[in-house]
Amino acid sequence: MSIATPSAVETFTVTLIIRRFDPEIDTEPRWQDFDVEMLPTDRVLDALHKIKWEQDGSLTFRRSCAHGICGSDAMRINGRNRLACKTLIKDLDITQPIYVEAIKGLPLEKDLVVDMEPFFQSYREVQPFLIANSKPKEGKERAQSPEQRARYDDTTKCILCAACTSSCPVFWTDGQYFGPAAIVNAHRFIFDSRDESNVRLDVLADREGVWRCRTTFNCSEACPRGIQVTQAIAEVKQAILRGRGA
């Protein structure tokens, strides 16, 4: 008796057109296409792996966990910022080539890799950590009710992939703008009932702060975690007008 073989899984060929840039050779980025044989369960990240492992080892991109939580592999796929590890190829239009390029607005280093330093610089400037100077009342804990926790639940989901910030047309033209991701992470603490600092509101009341937001909603559409980014920014604007957060 033979071991039952599963019926052959249907594969399909898809063309990826990738924006390549090697700073040691190229003066300008160039588009290069690759044909890859894929399974319906494959993601864009699998296609990139296949190209790197079987066709062109010089293809450069970032990825770490490959499961949508480390935030390393945000890239512009068919003109939209997404995580390569969360984008199933079959969900895209596979009759057309798939365009893959690095996220925009940050300095291009190589192929799909950009310099994230300006992004993290803005992140650090909003002081994304709990600031509390008072002693916790009776006991060791800073108690928080489920309602108080729910107030900022949405903005705790950020994985710092930069998909939002690099989809923002204001950030493309004005690199000084803090960008949606930094504001989301400020929101996380501004609306935390345990936090006692107003420093983030002062930082974001700057002319390169929240008032640069033109409510284009690109960030909300780009976020792979489904954070309502524009709403978070609107709430920070309101908090600045009121002069306090939580």
Binding site: P169, R214, T215, T216, F217, N218, S220, Q228, T230, Q231, A234, K237, Q238
Partner: protein
């Protein structure tokens, strides 16, 4: 994104109109004859179509401006921003359908004021 792009384009267009408008209105201080001469040159079909574009741009900018105020100050604004955009387009279309035939009849009937 497209509402923002349109808002920018109409905003810049209105700005340039206002610049020219300030200059030609200021001509009345130079002399009423100069003013009349310049305003007289506007009475041709090309400027008439331009006026149609101007009204369209101002209407869109005004209506979308209200939408942006709601996004900033109404709690549910960010939730319903898309629906509000369709409302803006809808109201804009209704107003333009009302305005366009009337305006074009005026522009293309000779001598009408």
């Amino acid at each position: 994104m497209w509402s923002w792009v349109l808002h920018r384009i109409t905003g810049v267009a209105i700005y340039f109109f206002l610049l020219v408008h300030l200059l030609d209105t200021a001509l009345i201080r130079v002399s009423p004859e100069a003013y009349n001469a310049v305003i007289g040159t506007y009475k041709n079909p090309i400027m008439g179509i331009g006026e149609l574009g101007l009204v369209g741009a101002i209407l869109f900018h005004a209506l979308n401006g209200l939408r942006i105020i709601l996004i900033d100050f109404w709690q549910l604004g960010t939730k319903y921003h898309r629906a509000m955009f369709y409302v803006v387009i809808g109201v804009w279309l209704v107003l333009m359908i009302g305005f366009t035939p009337r305006h074009l009849i005026n522009v293309f009937s000779e001598g009408a004021v």
